[in-house]
C-alpha cells in the first residue's frame, strides 16, 4: 500500500525522478539485470527464433522463414495430439483435484478430528517429492504383467480384469496413468490452501447460526461455501494453469509415447528443441502456448493488475 495511491498520477519532475532512481538503484540493479538477461531477453529472443530456422552453433546462419514454423505445427499429427492431451488433462484433472482438495480439507477441519497437522502433513508428502521420483514410482506401480502392484490388485487379487493390462503401451491406459499421477501428486496443494481458508472463517459465524438452529448442511451451504468462494476462484485458476502446464508427468512417465499419442504441449516443445534440435519450430510452439496461457489467465492478470498498487 504505497502512498502514490493517495495522490495518484502526481507528475514527478525529471530531477526528482533521477534522484529517486539513484536511491533505489543499488537495491534494484541486480534483480533488474537478472530478470532482464535470464527472463525477459529469453522470452523476446524466443519470439524472434520462432520466425527463424534457428541454429545454435555460434556464427552459424539462422535464415528467416516467416510463418513456416507456425504453419508446420498444424500439419503435424504430434501437434494435434499435444493440443488434445493438454486440454483433456485440464478438463479431467481440474474438477477432480478441486473436489478432492475441498473434500479432504473440510473433513480434516471438522471439530472432532484429532491429529489435523499429521493428516495435512501426510497428504502433502507427494507434493514435495520430486517429479522424477514419483514418475519412477508410478511406472513401477503400473508395470505391465502381473508384477505391477495395480495389475496385481486388479487381476490376481480382485479378478476384475481378464488379463494384466499393459498400462503404458496403450494410448488411453497411459493417459489414465498420467492423469492419476497428476491428481495424486497435486491434490495436497488445493487441500492445504482450503484448510487455511477454512481455519480463517471466524468461529462466531458458525456459533451464531447454530443458535438460530441451522444444521450442519445449512452451515456448510450458507457459511462455508460463501466464505471460501474467493479462494476457490484462485484455486481453480491455479489448478487450470497447473494442468495446462503439464510436462514432467508426461516426459518422465511415457516420454510422449506410444507414437506421440500421450504428447502434451510442453513435452513436445522440449523434445523438438533438445532431441530433434528444431529450435525455431520449438519456439513457435512455445509462443503459441504462451499466448494460450496468457488468454487463459486473463481474468487473473486483471485481478493482479488491480491489486498491485491500491
Amino acid at each position: 500500500m504505497s502512498e502514490s495511491t493517495i495522490q495518484p498520477k502526481k507528475k514527478v519532475g525529471f530531477k526528482k525522478g533521477l534522484k529517486q532512481w539513484k536511491e533505489v538503484l543499488p537495491f534494484l540493479i541486480l534483480g533488474l539485470i537478472g530478470t532482464g538477461v535470464f527472463v525477459i531477453f529469453p522470452l523476446f529472443k524466443g519470439i524472434v527464433m520462432s520466425f527463424q530456422d534457428y541454429s545454435i552453433m555460434p556464427g552459424a546462419e539462422s535464415p528467416w522463414v516467416g510463418l513456416e514454423n507456425y504453419l508446420k505445427a498444424f500439419e503435424e499429427e504430434q501437434f494435434r495430439y499435444a493440443v488434445r492431451n493438454t486440454l483433456l488433462n485440464t478438463i479431467v484433472t481440474v474438477p477432480i483435484n478441486w473436489f478432492l482438495g475441498l473434500f479432504f480439507a473440510v473433513l480434516i477441519n471438522l471439530n472432532f478430528i484429532k491429529f489435523k497437522i499429521t493428516f495435512r502433513t501426510l497428504y502433502y508428502v507427494p507434493i514435495i517429492t520430486s517429479w522424477i521420483v514419483v514418475s519412477f514410482l508410478f511406472r513401477y506401480l503400473f508395470a505391465s504383467g502381473d508384477g505391477g502392484l495395480v495389475n496385481y490388485l486388479l487381476y490376481t487379487q480382485l479378478g476384475v480384469i481378464d488379463e494384466p493390462i499393459n498400462w503404458l503401451g496403450n494410448q488411453w491406459t497411459a493417459m489414465l496413468v498420467i492423469w492419476s499421477l497428476h491428481i495424486w501428486k497435486t491434490v495436497g496443494w488445493a487441500l492445504v490452501i482450503y484448510l487455511a481458508a477454512l481455519q480463517g472463517i471466524p468461529k462466531s459465524l458458525y456459533e451464531a447460526a447454530e443458535i438460530d438452529g441451522a444444521n450442519a448442511i445449512q452451515l456448510f451451504r450458507h457459511i462455508t461455501i460463501p466464505m471460501v468462494t474467493p479462494i476457490s476462484i484462485f484455486v481453480i485458476i491455479q489448478l487450470v494453469m497447473g494442468a495446462f502446464n503439464i510436462f514432467p508427468q508426461v516426459y518422465f512417465v511415457t516420454g510422449g509415447g506410444p507414437m506421440h499419442q500421450t504428447e502434451v504441449l510442453q513435452s513436445m516443445i522440449y523434445t523438438q528443441a533438445f532431441e530433434n534440435f528444431n529450435f525455431g519450430y520449438s519456439s513457435a510452439l512455445g509462443v503459441m502456448m504462451g499466448i494460450a496461457v496468457f488468454l487463459l489467465t486473463w481474468s487473473q492478470q486483471k485481478k493482479i493488475g488491480k491489486q498491485k498498487f491500491y
Binding site: 534483480g31 479432504f104 493428516f119 508428502v125 519412477f136 514410482l137 513401477y140 491455479q238 519456439s283
Partner: protein, 280 residues
C-alpha cells in the same frame, strides 16, 4: 437432533475416509521403500514378496559408494545451497526496492515482472542456454547459478513483497535517528522481521533447484558435475529393470527435502500456502 449413536457412526465414517486418503497418498512410498530391500531384483519383485521382505541397507550402501551417489549428493547440495542463498538475497533486495521506494516507472516495471510469471518457461530454456554459451559458462555451476538466481528473482520478489508491505514504516525512524540509511533499514528491520517468510522462501528455492532437471541437463555436460536429478535419470536408464537400486537412489535424492519439510512443515505450509499464495 443428534443422538450419540449416529454421532459415533459419522465420526467413524469420516476417520475411515481420511485414513483411506492416507493409504492412497502414503502407501506407494511404503511400497517403494520395501522394494529397496530386494538385493537381487533383476526382475520385478512380486507384490506378495514385497510385503514380506526383510529390511536391510545393502542397496543404499551400493548406490552411495559403488555408484558414487555421495558425489552427486554433494554436487546438488552445492548447487542448491548457493542458488538458495543468492536467490534469497537478490529477491529480498528487489522486493525491498519495490516496497520502500518510489521512483518513476515503478508500476510498469512491476507489471512487466509479473507478466513474465504467466509465460511457460520452456520457451526460455534455449535462449537462456545461448546466453550462458556466450558467457562461456556452459558446463559450469556458475552457468546454473546465474539461470536459477536470475530466473528466480521475479517469483521471490512477488512472494516477499507481500510480507515486506506489512512492516510498519514507523520502525524506520529509530534507524534514521541513529543516522542509518537505506541499507541499515534493510538489514536491521526488513530482513529480521521477515524471518518466517524468508525461511519459507528458502525452502521453496532449495527444493526447486534440488529437483531441477531440464536446465541442469542442458548446462552440465561432465559426468562428475552432474546433479542428483540428472544422475537419477541416467541411472534409471542403465538399471531399468533393477527397481530396488533405482529406488534406493531415489530415496537418497528425496530425503533432504522430506526432512526439511517435516521439520519446518508447520510454518512452511501456512505461510507458503495461504499468505504468499493468496496475495497472488
Amino acid at each position: 437432533m443428534k443422538n450419540k449413536k449416529s454421532n459415533i457412526l459419522s465420526k467413524l465414517v469420516v476417520y475411515s475416509l481420511l485414513l483411506l486418503g492416507v493409504v492412497v497418498f502414503i502407501f506407494p512410498f511404503i511400497y517403494m521403500i520395501l522394494t529397496t530391500f530386494f538385493t537381487e531384483a533383476y526382475q520385478l519383485p512380486k507384490p506378495g514378496e514385497v510385503l514380506t521382505v526383510k529390511p536391510n541397507l545393502e542397496n543404499y550402501d551400493r548406490v552411495w559408494n559403488e555408484y558414487k551417489f555421495y558425489r552427486y549428493f554433494l554436487n546438488s547440495t552445492l548447487v542448491a545451497g548457493v542458488a538458495m542463498v543468492g536467490g534469497l538475497f537478490l529477491g529480498a533486495m528487489t522486493a525491498y526496492s519495490f516496497v520502500r521506494f518510489e521512483f518513476p516507472g515503478k508500476e510498469i516495471l512491476f507489471r512487466a515482472f509479473l507478466f513474465t510469471m504467466m509465460i511457460p518457461l520452456v520457451l526460455a530454456i534455449v535462449p537462456q542456454f545461448t546466453v550462458i554459451q556466450n558467457l562461456g559458462l556452459v558446463n559450469t555451476y556458475w552457468g546454473l547459478w546465474l539461470i536459477y538466481i536470475g530466473g528466480g528473482v521475479v517469483g521471490s520478489t512477488f512472494f516477499l513483497r507481500g510480507f515486506f508491505e506489512t512492516i510498519p514504516k514507523d520502525l524506520e525512524e529509530s534507524v534514521i535517528i541513529d543516522g542509518g540509511g537505506n541499507w541499515r533499514i534493510f538489514w536491521s528491520i526488513y530482513l529480521p522481521l521477515s524471518k518466517p517468510a524468508l525461511a519459507t522462501m528458502a525452502i521453496f528455492s532449495f527444493q526447486g533447484t534440488w529437483d531441477e532437471y531440464f536446465v541442469a541437463l542442458t548446462i552440465i555436460k561432465d559426468e562428475a558435475l552432474r546433479t542428483l536429478p540428472i544422475q537419477l535419470m541416467m541411472f534409471q536408464g542403465q538399471h531399468a529393470s533393477n527397481w530396488a537400486l533405482v529406488f534406493a537412489a531415489s530415496l537418497i535424492a528425496i530425503l533432504p527435502v522430506v526432512i526439511i519439510y517435516i521439520i519446518f512443515q508447520k510454518r512452511f505450509v501456512q505461510s507458503g500456502g495461504s499468505d504468499g499464495a493468496i496475495k497472488g
